[in-house]
């Protein structure tokens, strides 16, 4: 066989890495050994598959090779503890005869792995890094690059996290029922953080890092598959996909921000949007939470991701910016605030209200937030205020708020956007007519 086998191995790597590592951790209890052996198994695939062809079940093949590799390593450095672990690998509980593992019976341990990686006793940045390393299979160097950290720092973070899991006995399991809701939302939060870090990089010159978004979506898709009865897992996946579908239009050729209103909707990924809508539909049916019109069902208890996904759907399915159903969005935000009483959500609702009822109504809500000192230091508060003032043709006040937003923003692309708006507002204020060219 002469065909280039690399794409097939790449594909298997993406699809199977997390499963192989998760199974090996389950068998050996040793995270480092599990990663090492998974790596060896993929290296062997690169050698053997070109000669023998791709096995019918690549995952089972890789797991078996990794498992045998673990046994080899344990035998070679056999201590008493290792012999015990060896025995555990040879005789899984369902196979007391010790005849080895039937690949058909290899359990999917990824759910145990993801709950352990996202355990709240670990630092948040460690949870993110560990999830990317062990489940997504990113190298330490890749993770370090994604978070603009030195590789040595990232390596240390991963080592510490794995040490704590071992030394403090963080259990390798799906949490029991009484802990499950809380821990599940913890896992979802880690995945969403990962997506958001890719979606609006908090540091650096580029606004979007698609690699992180793609990994987050891949992980959310696995999680939704592993927890088929959890509406929030599906909703999170749909939410990410609605955002991701707009990726081609969010920055222009110069790398500058294009606002939702100005985005070229013909660039949006229609097939991703309709898939996301179907996934959200399934989540909403599970939760019994959305009406046919896409609004909240009174008395139902939709989760925060379901509501956010429903909002994202309103944007993604509106044929034009002007035809966006802002009243529905404002209503969804109203329900979301009851669930997540955060000031950022209140700010988003203010924007929706401004669009539905006019800038004056929105400005009143923004000023309420500002007066409460709620979002001090958050650039989107003055940026939103500035935008509403601009729409009300109060250019001089708008310029002041743009100035304030610019002082607070950290992402370079967003800073450029604000600087351009500031210049426009200043020009309008000087012209004295208070009018600025509208955004679109």
């Amino acid at each position: 066989m002469t065909a280039d086998i690399t794409p097939a191995v790449d594909e298997a790597f993406r699809a199977e890495w997390g499963k192989v590592v998760a199974t090996l951790i389950g068998m050996t209890g040793d995270w480092d050994l599990a990663e090492e052996c998974a790596q060896d198994a993929f290296a062997q695939a690169l050698r053997v598959w070109p000669r023998d062809g791709i096995p019918r079940r690549p995952g089972a093949w890789l797991t078996t090779v990794a498992r045998n590799r673990a046994l080899d390593k344990l035998r070679r450095h056999a201590s008493e503890a290792d012999k015990l672990r060896q025995a555990a690998i040879l005789s899984p509980p369902d196979d007391p005869a010790g005849g080895g593992v039937d690949p058909e019976d290899i359990p999917d341990d990824r759910l145990r792995l993801i709950f352990t990686c996202c355990h709240p006793a670990l630092r948040l940045d460690s949870r993110v890094a560990l999830t990317l390393r062990t489940l997504a299979g990113l190298s330490t160097a890749e993770i370090a690059r994604a978070f603009l950290t030195a590789e040595a720092t990232m390596a240390k973070r991963l080592v510490r996290a794995k040490q704590k899991i071992r030394n403090a006995a963080i259990p390798y399991r799906v949490p029991p029922a009484h802990l499950l809701p809380e821990r599940t939302s913890g896992v979802l939060a880690v995945l969403y953080l990962l997506f958001n870090e890719g979606y609006t990089a908090t540091v650096g010159a580029r606004l979007v890092r698609h690699d992180l978004c793609t990994e987050a979506i891949r992980l959310a898709r696995s999680l939704a598959g592993l927890m088929p009865d959890e509406p929030e897992a599906k909703a999170l996946l749909a939410l990410m996909m609605f955002h991701h579908a707009r990726r081609a239009s969010r920055v222009d050729a110069a790398g500058d921000v294009v606002t939702l209103e100005d985005q070229d909707r013909s660039l949006w990924d229609r097939s991703e949007i309709s898939e996301a809508a179907a996934i959200l539909g399934a989540a909403a049916r599970l939760a019994g939470a959305l009406s046919n019109s896409g609004g909240p069902v009174p008395g139902s208890r939709p989760g925060p991701y379901l509501l956010q996904a429903a909002i994202a759907r309103c944007h993604a399915t509106a044929p034009t910016a002007a035809s966006t159903d802002w009243a529905l969005i404002a209503d969804l935000y109203r329900v979301l605030i009851e669930l997540v009483p955060s000031d950022v959500v209140r700010l988003n609702r203010a924007v929706a209200v401004a669009m539905a009822e006019g800038p004056t109504a929105g400005l009143a809500l923004v000023d309420e937030l500002a007066a409460a000192g709620a979002l001090d230091g958050y650039y989107l508060l003055p940026a939103t205020r500035a935008d509403l003032l601009r729409r009300l043709s109060r250019a001089a006040e708008a310029a002041l708020s743009y100035r304030r937003a610019l002082d607070l923003a950290v992402n370079d692309a967003e800073r450029r956007y604000l600087a351009n708006r500031l210049a426009e507002a200043q020009a309008a204020a000087v012209a004295g007519d208070g009018s600025v060219a509208p955004l679109n």
């Binding site: 006793a121 030394n167 403090a168 006995a169 963080i170 259990p171 802990l179």
Partner: protein, 113 residues
């Protein structure tokens, strides 16, 4: 798996009389439950940090200072040694301790051989 629970609280924290009065009984209740469940092996309460003496030996000389080794907002008020299946159980046990609701509890595993 053995863990040390360092029970910490601000000695000068403003708790109402009523709150303060509840702590000993609630702690007693916690101790009884954890002993009955076979979780709490031992533990005790400590006297105030104003009674502490810190001892150092430098160049063969014994140096003493009055008070704790580090000035922190919260002081160790007591400790418990617990035996748990894993960290999740240790967290559940610590969260049930009455001091957790106004102070804090550091859960440290014993060092493995």
């Amino acid at each position: 798996m053995k863990y040390m629970m360092l029970v910490c609280a601000d000695e000068l924290a403003e708790l109402s009389q009523a709150q303060r009065a509840l702590v000993p009984a609630a702690t007693h209740e916690w101790v009884t439950e954890m002993k009955d469940r076979g979780i709490r092996l031992t533990g005790d309460q400590l006297s105030a940090v104003s009674d502490a003496t810190t001892v150092r030996v430098r160049d063969a000389e014994v140096l003493l200072s009055d008070g704790p080794f580090a000035e922190t907002k919260e002081q160790i008020a007591g400790f418990d040694i617990i035996e748990c299946a894993d960290l999740d159980q240790a967290i559940e046990v610590a969260a049930k301790h009455p001091v957790a609701s106004f102070g804090s509890i550091e859960v440290r595993p014993f060092r493995q051989p």
